[in-house]
Each structure stands twice: as C-alpha cells, then as structure tokens.
Amino acid sequence: MKPEEIDRVLAGESDIVPSSGFVTSVMDAVIAEATAPPLAFPWKRAWPLVAGFAALIPWLAFLLSRSPVTDGPDLYAWFQMIVPMATGWVAAALAMTVAITVWSLVRTFARYFPSVGAQP
C-alpha cells in the first residue's frame, strides 16, 4: 500500500458529532464539582496520630528526666537508652513498607495482567 494512500485514509477520516446533551452533561459535572463543599479534615483517621504525638511528649519528658544529671545533657546516655527502643519501631516501619510494596505490586499485576494466574 502506498504511503499517500495511508495518508489519505487517516487524514480523511470524517468527524463524529458529540451527542446533543454533551455540553449539559459536562457542565452538570463541572458545577457539581464547583459547588461541592470543601473536603473536611479527616479527624476520624487522624486522631490516632494526633493522640500518638500527644503521648510522645510526656514520654520524652519522662525519658529525659531519667537521664543522669550532669553539667549538660548527656546525649550519649540518652541515645544508649533510646536506640534499643527505636530498633523495634524501625523494624516495624520496614516491615510495613515491604508489606505495602508487595500489596501494591500484586494489585498492579492483577490490573494489567488479569489473565496471569487465571484458570484455563
């Protein structure tokens, strides 16, 4: 097939006409979006985080109060005390990261390769 013929077919395609209610439908969607109330802050989801931070402050104060009193703050002793506790948190965060990554990969594969793993 000649290149000009391909050009003629692809360039000469006639346009389709949008349906009569298209503009109305778009404007309904746009107006609904414009008049929708702003999203409220998700306090229900955020309160455990806020509570966690609130609890952290007295806990840190308690830890500092237990550190030996010297001329200045004994950071080495403080780190010695806090590192074993932090190790658990770091391990938990790593485990959560791995779990979320695996979960996202599984979902992505399921979306783009739905036939993989399907029964014949």
């Binding site: 692809l10 389709i16 349906s19 298209f22 778009v26 746009v30």
Partner: protein, 182 residues
C-alpha cells in the same frame, strides 16, 4: 475559534463565573470528543473521556500559562489523559501480530469494500506500539501538522518525525496481511 474568546472565558471562570466554562466546552467539544474517538474507536467512551478532560481542564485552568495558545494547553491535557486512560482500559483491538494470526484462520474474501479497508487501517494504528500510535493519531488529527502534534505530545518536532516514519513503516509492513484477511 478565537483565542481572545478563550482567554476572556478563562478569565471569567477564574474570577468565579462557572457558567463561562460552558462557552469553552461548546467551542472545544467536537475536537476533544473526536480526538478521544481516535484513541478508542467507541463513541460513548470517547464522550466519557472528553468529559473527564473538560473536568480536569476546569480544575487546572489556573495553570494555563498564556504564552501558549489555550488550544495547545487543552490538547496537551486531553492527550495525556486519553493516553493514560487507554492504558487502563481493555483495548478494543488485538495487537497487530495477534490480529494477523487470528485473521489468517478465517477464509479470506477476494475483495473488501473501501469502507472496511479504511476501518482496518484506522484500527491498525491503535494496535501500534504506544509512541507510534500517539504520533500518528495526533499528526492526522491535527491535519498533518507536525508542530501542533509535537505540542500536544510535549516532545520535539524531530521526535514526532522519527516516530511518524517508524510508525508508518510498521503499519505498511503489517497492512498487506491485515487487508488480505479482513
């Protein structure tokens, strides 16, 4: 379509007059629906895609920098959306090689009418690898204008030319068997 009208309507929308967006939709509905149609070959889906493109345009209207024409910005936004949505949705046509293999199994008719042949060619564009499909789709949609196609895709003109050339080569190599078996 007037660039001044677009600019005036955008200014009104940004000032809070949502109804001014209707004029923009009215002016650009046909190009956006037709561009979407060339990506999916399905009228209802094309209107859904175009509607989503207008919604996104409304949301990000403030990001239009007036150095470029409003149409350039709108087509780039719509093209991005269509390309990503087409990836998510199941294709209407099989990849070229699969299509040829499937068609080979059918009894070939000696002659096909022109309309059917044109349809085969247009569907074959959709089955090209995405970068060639995008280049060909936009090039012919924009009336074979390289600069506008490049602007819509956000790539240099040289890239469009190279992709057009390669895309046409692939198309030409596959078409004889597709047409023979259509």
């Amino acid at each position: 379509m007037s660039a001044e009208e677009d600019a005036a309507d955008v200014a009104r929308v940004l000032a809070g007059d949502v109804s001014a967006f209707e004029a923009i939709v009215g002016r650009w509905q046909s190009p956006l629906v037709n561009l979407a149609y060339r990506y999916c070959r399905d009228r209802a889906r094309a209107e859904d895609l175009a509607q989503e493109a207008f919604r996104r345009a409304y949301r990000s209207l403030a990001s239009w920098r007036r150095e470029a024409a409003f149409s350039t910005w709108l087509f780039a936004l719509a093209t991005n959306l269509y390309r990503s949505e087409i990836k998510r949705l199941p294709p209407l046509s099989a990849p070229l090689d699969e299509g040829v293999a499937a068609l080979d199994r059918r009894a070939a008719e000696p002659l096909i009418d022109e309309e059917r042949r044109d349809r085969v060619i247009r569907n074959a564009v959709l089955a090209l690898p995405a970068k060639y499909r995008d280049a060909l789709t936009l090039f012919y949609f924009h009336g074979m204008d390289i600069a506008r196609s490049a602007a819509s895709l956000g790539v240099p003109e040289g890239t469009i030319k190279a992709r057009l050339s390669r895309g046409r080569d692939i198309l030409r190599s596959k078409l004889p068997s597709l047409l023979r078996n259509a």
